[in-house]
Point group: C2
Chain length 180, copies 2
């Protein structure tokens, strides 16, 4: 927990790479081992099962997600703007982790789904004091969900609103007018 072994972390990174690029279906132990540059046996030394790999990436998301929200809450540009900006993907470690877990959830992993719901609840609680009422809070949460969803889809090849920085700025301004 405190100082995770380097090799373990890099295997976890490789797992995320494969899930993001090709989807959970393609993330076999063989494929992950190849991506991590180790043999299957080497992979299984660090993660005794595929389930262990999934659990580890889910824990990683939860801890990174709470840390991210602490930054958002204290951002100088305001929590709402910071939250919305954090919702578009910049391929940060946290972005990659949450996309991975979202895909596992969509694939039917109940543990991943639960972890996502809990994280979303933390975000909602954090933002509530920064919005004028419940409706405004829902607006912010849903736009953020939409940004995430589109970006999550687009990585392994897909849609996306393709918001450039100006468009995102305008959207944030609009949401702040409506919600803050």
């Amino acid at each position: 927990m405190s100082r995770p072994p380097r090799a373990r972390e890099s295997v976890l990174d490789a797992y995320e790479d494969v899930v993001i690029a090709d989807g959970p279906a393609a993330a076999t132990m063989d494929a992950v081992a190849r991506a991590a540059g180790v043999s299957k046996g080497g992979l299984l030394y660090h993660f005794a099962s595929k389930d262990a790999l999934q659990s580890a990436v889910i824990e990683r998301m939860s801890s990174r997600g709470v840390a991210e929200m602490a930054d958002v809450a204290t951002s100088p540009v305001g929590a709402i703007a910071a939250f919305m900006r954090s919702s578009i993907m910049h391929n940060t470690p946290f972005d990659r982790t949450i996309v991975t877990v979202s895909r596992l959830a969509q694939n039917g992993d109940a543990v991943a789904s639960d972890a996502l719901r809990r994280l979303r609840d933390v975000w909602e609680e954090t933002l509530r004091p920064h919005t004028r009422d419940e409706t405004a809070l829902q607006l912010v949460m849903l736009v953020s969900d939409g940004l995430y969803f589109n970006n999550a889809l687009s990585t392994g090849s897909v849609p996306g609103p393709d918001l450039d920085d100006d468009a995102l700025g305008a959207l944030i301004a609009l949401v702040e007018r409506s919600a803050v």
Copy 2:
């Protein structure tokens, strides 16, 4: 295309049931056959491969999605409100189909991803004349994406903003004030 065989349609329904309840990973040919109440051989008479099953559900989504949007565009309550209401899940045939395809896309199916992007483009074009500017259009699209995303996750067990009808009404009013 014009008058699809009943048995074929009910197999497709069963496929959606399994994907929605347990995810694409659990939607094996065996599981689908069981859900459809036929043997594996019977299933394979209608759909010669798993790929054929996926293609069929994707085509189903595209045709149903265009039909849905025609209704939205001519709704008496206005296109934006109708669109937002249509974005929350009521377990309609179309809802079930789009959730299924979303999950296939998240699973790494590129054909599913492309079909979703094309459908989203159709929606965007349809709504553009009903919004005051591009930013407003993006707001509407993203809230809709967020509603879909949450609902899509929640079926196989997950999150969801749990908007009741009053809350949805308030949200629609807020978005219309901001975007129409």
